[in-house]
């Protein structure tokens, strides 16, 4: 069919084809142990989008750009060091929004804000209380009305996200990562079945990282979540 040169060239092509094919197979085989990782869900954490805090994107353009800047900064540094963002107001030297290490307590937030002002009521806030991401801490002045502190809850600073009011902390918060079934049943709309599902979920998937994770529980919809979100905490 082909001349002698043509035959030789065709054999060369088959040889080269084999060589490339073997190369491809070796590369695949060398990594064979990693096959199926993505669908097995083992790489989920690395592959999933990075989560950040609540950002209202319906804000004005200027606000939006500043939020984006904060957000971008966090995203890039997130891999190196986990931080919480908190809002400090009241009788402190430098009120404002601060980044503090994850797991910090109220006294660290106070240090970040430059400490008390002379008029501050130093006993009004429990400086040993644990913080949580997105918290708003108000340090009142002497004589100012003070929202009641919760002595026992580990994460009970005067804090909240998504428009929580400070007065909501007057009730004891239930830690959904540690609470017993009976405690969970105290929440509005949570019966024995839902309480058990909340416990089952944390035992199967690990600790709840945020209150919104309750929405993953069958039986907790947006309305029920809104009813319980200010009564629970996820502090670990």
């Amino acid at each position: 069919m082909y001349g002698e040169g043509g035959n030789r060239r065709n054999y060369l092509f088959i040889f080269l084809g084999l060589l490339c094919f073997i190369g491809a197979t070796i590369l695949l085989h060398s990594f064979k142990g990693r096959f199926g990782q993505d669908t097995a869900g083992k790489m989920t954490v690395e592959m999933m989008p990075v989560m950040e805090d609540t950002i209202d994107v319906s804000a004005s353009e200027q606000q939006a750009s500043s939020l984006q800047a904060v957000y971008g900064e966090t995203a890039s540094s997130d891999a190196e060091k986990k931080e919480w963002v908190i809002y400090i107001t009241g009788s402190v030297k430098k009120p404002g929004v601060y980044r503090i290490p994850e797991g910090a307590r109220v006294y660290q937030a106070l240090e970040a804000a430059g400490g008390f002002t002379p008029e501050a009521d130093r006993d009004a806030v429990n400086l040993a209380a644990m913080l949580q991401d997105g918290a708003h801490i108000k340090f009142p002045a002497v004589g100012e009305e003070v929202p009641q502190q919760v002595p026992t809850a580990p994460a009970a600073p005067i804090s909240g996200t998504e428009g929580n009011s400070d007065t909501q902390t007057s009730q004891e918060l239930i830690n959904i990562n540690t609470a017993m079934k009976e405690d969970l049943e105290k929440l509005p709309g949570v019966g024995p079945k839902t309480a058990q599902l909340i416990i089952d979920h944390r035992e199967k998937n690990g600790a709840y990282k945020r209150k919104e994770d309750l929405l993953l529980i069958k039986g907790i919809g947006p309305a029920k979540f809104d009813a319980v979100k200010n009564l629970v905490t996820v502090a670990q």
Partner: protein
């Protein structure tokens, strides 16, 4: 040119590139590094070209290098884009638009565009806003669920291939504007079709025009192995183009009119992957006609596949795209065989069934064997039935006299087909499940027909077809 079967670079260079890109995407999504994945793409495309080439023409080397560079560059680019996961907040407030609203068991699945990208949501039927509605939403975002180690439905890959970056649970959702534009038309037509036509006609018209599948009709076609007829794809686009071509005069205006018609139809159908693939393929073919250089269908399908991947690399994980590409490539490859041997036409239909069977079986559990037989009759039959359904539904649509009688006639025709295919299913109630021998056989058939369509000589087909089949099975 046909007599001189000198290999992939002369016949279908785009398929060689698509093959390399696909292997690269498979490797990367299986956990290989970026560099290794690109190397795999280069080696597989080189191997394919070397195996298929018999008598290289002048300038072969330059073409070879060009294809390799393009394959490597596209593979690198696509894998890089897939590796960049978007960073999103855990809860959002945003204005957006409902891009998709489809049945999802008892609920509805929604794709909503927000300022942070597209989000998927599952909602109760009564509270799900209509497609095209403007919405203001406050929602918590969650990761998609991955498939179990043993396989099964992968929510992550499914929604990423639809463009969604996260699953959201709306805490507040307010409709700010009613459906507008093409969505308004889609909703209007859906209501009009559902209200004005009998059951079967309504089901077929919804599938044919809007890409919406009726649950009962889909189930019947699934049992008969003809569910692909309900998915807007090259079959439907081809019928529309053929009808337009029949009524229009020759010339460049005809090419332009067909192009506008096809893309308008696809927009109305909600841009399904199979339809887009067919649209691009047809556009490549029409462009060739426009320039006086008609391209080979097999190569045009491959070009369409690459363009779709470049537009959105996650399309690779869309089962609709995979089935559409496999079927279209198999059909185009068998067209070449059928020209030399009319038995090839039947073989082509069987080849499409075998090639797509393992993919369907792995996704849906099983494939009815009767589909192998029914499709041989169903495909030419529905080439006539679909235009009939369309024209017979027009009187009812415009409220003309005798519209009910005309629609009833068509309904009888569809019922007859329904009964006939039902009887055939009863006669042959066998199904195949996803097994290694089936996958191996399907891969072999696919690669053998692809090698033939790529210009390899017959004696050069068996060995590489076998080897590439084994390579595919490595990923399975």
């Amino acid at each position: 040119m046909r007599n001189k079967r000198n290999g992939p670079l002369s016949y279908a260079p785009a398929f060689a590139a698509l093959l390399g890109i696909s292997f690269s995407l498979l490797a990367y999504s299986s956990g290989h590094s970026l560099l290794i994945s690109v190397m795999i793409s280069v080696l597989t495309v080189s191997s394919w070209i070397f195996f298929g080439t018999s008598d290289p023409t002048e300038g072969w080397g330059t073409e070879f290098i060009f294809v390799i560079i393009v394959t490597a560059a596209v593979s690198l680019s696509l894998n890089l884009r897939m590796s960049c996961e978007p960073a999103v907040p855990s809860t959002i407030r945003s204005e957006g638009k409902v891009l998709l609203n489809r049945a999802w068991g008892r609920r509805r699945a929604l794709l909503i565009s927000t300022s942070y990208g597209k989000m998927a949501a599952y909602m109760h039927r009564s509270s799900a806003p209509a497609e095209g509605s403007g919405v203001r939403v406050r929602a918590a975002l969650f990761d998609f669920r991955r498939a179990d180690a043993g396989g099964g439905f992968d929510e992550y890959l499914f929604w990423r291939s639809k463009g969604a970056v996260k699953r959201m649970i709306p805490l507040e959702l307010e409709v700010t504007s009613p459906p507008a534009g093409i969505h308004k038309w889609r909703n209007f037509l859906e209501t009009k079709i559902e209200d004005g036509l009998p059951d079967l006609m309504s089901g077929y018209m919804l599938a044919l025009t809007l890409g919406i599948r009726d649950k009962k009709l889909t189930e019947r076609h699934r049992e008969a192995g003809t569910v692909h007829l309900l998915a807007v794809s090259g079959f439907h686009v081809g019928i529309l183009a053929a009808m337009a071509g029949f009524f229009l005069k020759r010339g460049k205006i005809k090419i332009l009119t067909i192009s506008v018609l096809i893309w308008s139809y696809l927009a109305l159908a909600g841009f399904p992957p199979g339809g887009i693939r067919a649209g691009i393929m047809l556009q490549v073919y029409l462009l060739g006609l426009f320039l006086g250089k008609p391209s080979r269908p097999f190569n045009s399908v491959s070009v369409a596949g690459i363009i779709m991947l470049i537009c959105d690399p996650w399309t690779f994980h869309d089962i609709g795209w995979r089935l559409s590409m496999l079927a279209a490539l198999s059909v185009c490859a068998s067209v070449g065989i059928a020209r030399q041997n009319w038995a090839g036409a039947l073989l082509g239909s069987a080849a499409v069934w075998f090639v797509t069977a393992p993919v369907i079986a792995s996704a849906f559990g099983e494939v009815p064997v009767v589909g192998l037989m029914i499709n041989i009759a169903a495909i030419p039959l529905f080439t006539v039935i679909f235009p009939l359904v369309f024209f017979f539904s027009l009187p009812a649509f415009f409220g003309l006299p005798l519209s009910h009688e005309i629609a009833s006639m068509c309904e009888y025709l569809l019922e007859s087909w329904d009964i006939l295919s039902g009887k055939l299913v009863e006669l042959m109630p066998l199904s195949v499940v996803s097994t290694l021998p089936l996958a191996a056989f399907a891969s072999f058939i696919f690669f053998a027909s692809a090698l033939y369509a790529s210009g390899a000589t017959l004696k050069k087909i068996p060995l590489p077809a076998l080897m590439f089949s084994l390579l595919v099975l490595l990923f399975a």
